[in-house]
């Protein structure tokens, strides 16, 4: 099958049921997409498929045939997407492990809704767990990024 990853053409011949996450991490070495739960419950593996946030740990390769996948490595050429900048300005991360997934989810949220309400931000980010507990700053960063985007 054919797909695009971070704007590059890729072809994949393996097990069509393998989750996209393992293809990105093990085969392409794009380890910015994190393994957190393997069951779509924590959001650490969030990537964009045709611009929409998906949990790559429960997305079989069959589902991304012909699609464009964007990972944290491809979110912006210089690492300065408004969400990334806001994350740094608010000093969001502690351990940092969940943050690529949080950022990818937030970026898709803002792309779909330029002016999200507080409730929409909280609802939209419900699927992304941060065990360090950076939620207060994640919320602030998304508000700031939405203003800039």
């Amino acid at each position: 099958m054919k797909l695009k990853v971070n704007k590059q053409d890729k072809s994949y011949e393996g097990d069509a049921q393998m989750p996209l996450m393992w293809y990105l991490r093990d085969e392409l070495g794009l380890t910015g997409t994190k393994f957190g739960c393997g069951t779509g419950l924590c959001g650490a593996c969030t990537v964009h498929v045709d611009g929409k946030a998906v949990r790559s740990c429960v997305t079989p390769m069959a589902d991304v045939s012909g699609k464009a996948v964007t990972t944290i490595e491809g979110l912006s050429a210089d690492g300065n997407h408004p969400v990334q900048k806001a994350w740094r300005a608010e000093n969001v991360p502690q351990c940092g492990y969940c943050q690529p997934g949080q950022i990818m989810n937030a970026a898709a949220l803002i792309a779909q809704n330029k002016n999200p309400s507080d409730a929409q931000i909280l609802e939209g980010m419900q699927g992304n767990i941060c065990r360090c507990g950076c939620y207060q700053r994640i919320f602030a960063a998304i508000k700031a990024a939405a203003k800039e985007a």
Binding site: N91, G96, Q99
Partner: protein, 774 residues
């Protein structure tokens, strides 16, 4: 209060040579000054603020030599070693920042490198016990100050002048008489050839001159890499030729695999080997649980292979473990007299004469750390050598344990420390790295990455111990609490290190039980016996959680019995500002977090101050709408005093919101206020997880939870979204104390005390779950 006390102490004064040098510059009186200074040094016996900590007693002790920690490139780039693991507290930034500040380095020209596990070289690396800044603020200041002195000496050589005529300033050394300066890069070679000055000659900066320490103006060094996906955790490590492995572990601790379908696993494309790992009987320290490993060309193949194994187990004796039954057993034990651990006055007499007796029981379940990064490690064995890449809190200990597991010399093991995607105590136990070592050896030296899944992580952790606390208090007719007996029953984490310890050890009792500062004349603290049927491990703040939950809930219950305000009554229970010294009344030893009591005494003045601060900032006492309430709790934890006021809102269905938290923290002299705030915010989130929803339970010896659907942790918007942190200011003479852990213990009791004030319902069993809707 506390500050006066420290002023009275015979501290070695920090003489600022800079002030003297300023005088020299204005008067040109070099000769006089040069004669004057050494005599001052002699009279003072050194310029270093020095207090003793437990750091010297830790494996590897303290190393502060700039030749170990600092290197300077000709272009001026300063590289500073971070020797402790980064799991989210920010110590990988904060400790090098201390060095940089003391050496007058420009932070924008500083690079940080992570030390491999090597405690003889770097000093203690066990990133645990909220010790990084507490134990290393002084050594890192000495290191930076020594580096500055060496650079000044190098400049004196370059300018052919006395080192009294030069002054280091923001990455260069200025020749005072001429105003010329030379950059650190140009001085690097000469400075590198100099001997490290003696500690007694080191002059620390005047705190007024700090550029970074205490300012909160430095961002964590990995911030950009984290936000761009470049940060590397153990799960992300890729080594040439590496294979991937997952392990099917015994569902009951101590169990053995008796039969499995190796052929079925081998049939899965990509699977290359099935390896049985022998269990180590308890006490096993951090030895792997054993089981059956599947090694493959990819994680996915390894997972599919494991799913095909169909392992049959011999569960062994721990299959009897049942959380419901165990809770009843602990409750029964706590009804009977236990071993007295601390005794003051005569509890029996006081309770017999009490006007009113209040008896309460509190329960805290097992927790699993559930770090966002499940444990992982890569090991490459090469003959009698091994290289490890792992997310370990204890790189030094891991080095020793890998060497022992492989039967090779410790010096032949290199432990590369990745970033840790959370730690919370889980990654202090290197069982996952030992699994990778065993598998690489079994593979003839092929590098093997062991990946733990979330299910592996939740079902095979080192669990926060389950605990039952039975408190009996007596109130006299003057409405004073005159008697307090607390029986603590909890399986000990020492069960990893010794056979059947039966009860909490001195270490666990020192975590908020026998170090209690409360002002009760007849006090008896006891322990009851409890067997560990699973691996018990330390979890962020450890036994402080159940001890604080019981004590701080009970104090609020007594306040309610007496019709008193929670905060006022808490202050009365703390009593007047004083040093409480339980060393005379404990029956074995008072474990003071491994530190000397003289440096870190139990200071009720500081405890009172955080209570008053948090209450004031929270607006304690103001009228709240129906269904709302505030609760308060305080704890001394890892030498730090923390008080939280939690504000709750409870609706008619029993749903609880936490609109606001106010936390005051006194951690002595503080280095990085921005990271302290992030730790307190995170502690409130973890605290609310514990209070509201998190528990591990066992049935037939097996953990009943497996992933975030049945082991829920707090999600965004579920509370604690507005946490306000107040840091009590202190000068460097007040010893720095812990930050990573202390925010957790006050949260659950403050939350339950708030629920009581909002609803009149008292929660004595954690987690809250649906207790309010029932």
């Amino acid at each position: 209060m506390s500050f006066e006390k420290f002023q009275e102490r015979p501290l070695i004064k920090n003489v600022s040579r800079r002030d003297v040098l300023k005088g020299i510059a204005s008067t040109g009186g070099l000769v006089i000054a040069a004669q004057f200074l050494p005599s001052m040094t002699m009279a003072d016996g050194g310029h270093v603020n020095q207090y003793k900590t437990g750091a010297d007693g830790m494996p590897g002790g303290v190393v502060w030599d700039p030749h170990v920690y600092v290197s300077i490139a000709p272009d001026g780039t300063v590289t500073i070693v971070a020797h402790r693991s980064e799991m989210g507290t920010g110590s990988r930034t904060s400790l090098p920042m201390i060095v940089a500040d003391e050496m007058e380095a420009d932070w924008s020209k500083v690079k940080i490198v992570q030390a491999p596990g090597n405690e003889p070289k770097y000093g203690n690396q066990d990133t645990d016990g909220s010790r990084s800044v507490r134990h290393f603020i002084q050594p890192m200041r000495w290191c930076g100050a020594a580096t500055r002195a060496m650079l000044e000496q190098a400049a004196a050589v370059k300018f052919a002048c006395s080192n009294m005529e030069v002054r280091a300033e923001n990455h260069k050394v200025v020749h005072i008489p001429s105003g010329k300066s030379v950059g650190y890069g140009e001085l690097a070679q000469i400075a590198a050839g100099l001997k490290t000055p003696a500690l007694s000659t080191i002059v620390l900066k005047d705190p007024k001159q700090f550029r970074y320490i205490g300012k909160g103006n430095v961002q964590i060094t990995d911030l950009r890499d984290i936000t761009t996906g470049k940060a590397v955790y153990a799960q992300d490590v890729r080594v040439d030729g590496m294979k991937y492995a997952v392990v099917e572990r015994p569902p009951v601790v101590g169990g053995k695999a008796v039969k499995w379908d190796e052929a079925a696993a081998m049939k899965v494309p990509g699977v290359v080997k099935v390896v049985a790992i022998n269990p180590t009987p308890m006490p096993a320290k951090f030895a792997p649980l054993g089981g059956v490993a599947v090694v493959a060309n990819s994680t996915y193949a390894a997972l599919k292979g494991r799913a095909a194994l169909n392992v049959q187990w011999d569960d062994g004796p721990n299959k009897v473990y049942d959380s419901d039954k165990f809770k009843q057993q602990m409750a029964e034990t706590a009804k009977k007299p236990g071993k007295v651990e601390r005794n003051e006055g005569d509890f029996d007499k006081a309770i017999a004469g009490a006007d009113k007796v209040v008896e309460r029981e509190y329960y805290v379940p097992h927790f699993s750390h559930a770090t966002m990064e499940p444990p992982a490690a890569v090991v490459k064995v090469n003959g009698d050598k091994a290289e490890v890449w792992a997310c370990v809190q204890s790189p030094g200990g891991t080095r020793g344990d890998v060497a022992k597991t492989l039967g090779i010399p410790e010096d032949n093991v290199t432990v590369n420390v990745t970033l840790l995607g959370g730690g919370f105590g889980r990654k202090s136990k290197c069982d996952f790295a030992l699994e990778a070592a065993i598998l690489s050896k079994a593979m003839g030296g092929t590098p093997v990455k062991v990946v733990w899944t979330r299910e592996d992580d939740i079902q095979h952790a080192f669990y926060h111990s389950v605990s039952y606390q039975h408190v009996t208090a007596g109130i006299d007719k003057n409405k004073k609490v005159v008697a307090w007996r607390q029986r603590s029953v909890s399986p000990s984490l020492m069960s990893n290190f010794m056979p059947d310890p039966k009860r909490e050890s001195a270490l666990e009792l020192g975590l908020g039980l026998i170090d209690t500062p409360f002002n009760v004349p007849n006090l008896r603290l006891e322990t009851g016996e409890a067997v560990a049927h699973t691996r018990i491990g330390w979890f962020r703040s450890v036994n402080n959680i159940p001890h604080a939950f019981a004590m701080q809930s009970m104090i609020a219950e007594l306040a309610a019995e007496l019709g008193r305000d929670q905060k006022d009554f808490l202050l009365e229970m703390i009593g007047p500002a004083r040093i409480v010294d339980p060393r005379k009344s404990v029956t074995s030893e008072l474990w003071n977090y491994g530190d000397p009591f003289e440096t870190y005494p139990i200071d009720t003045g500081r405890m009172r101050a955080v209570v008053e601060k948090a209450a004031k900032e929270a607006g304690w006492g103001k009228q709240l709408p129906k269904g709302e309430g505030m609760g308060i709790a305080v704890q001394r934890c890892f030498q730090t005093y923390v008080c939280s006021v939690v504000h709750v809102k409870v609706d008619a269905k029993g749903n609880v919101e936490v609109p606001r938290v106010d936390t005051a923290i006194d951690c002595g002299f503080h280095v990085n206020p921005e990271r302290i705030k992030s730790q307190i915010e995170g502690a409130a989130v973890m605290g609310l997880s514990i209070a509201k929803m998190t528990q591990i339970t066992f049935k037939n010896g097996r953990v009943q939870q497996s992933n975030f659907h049945d082991y829920p942790v707090l999600r965004i918007g579920q509370g604690a979204m507005s946490v306000n942190t107040y840091i009590m200011p202190h000068p460097p003479e007040v010893p720095a104390a812990g930050v990573g852990e202390p925010g957790v213990p006050p949260f659950a009791p403050a939350f339950c005390n708030a629920i009581f004030n909002a609803t009149g319902k008292r929660i004595r069993n954690l987690p809250l779950g649906d207790q309010l809707s029932a």
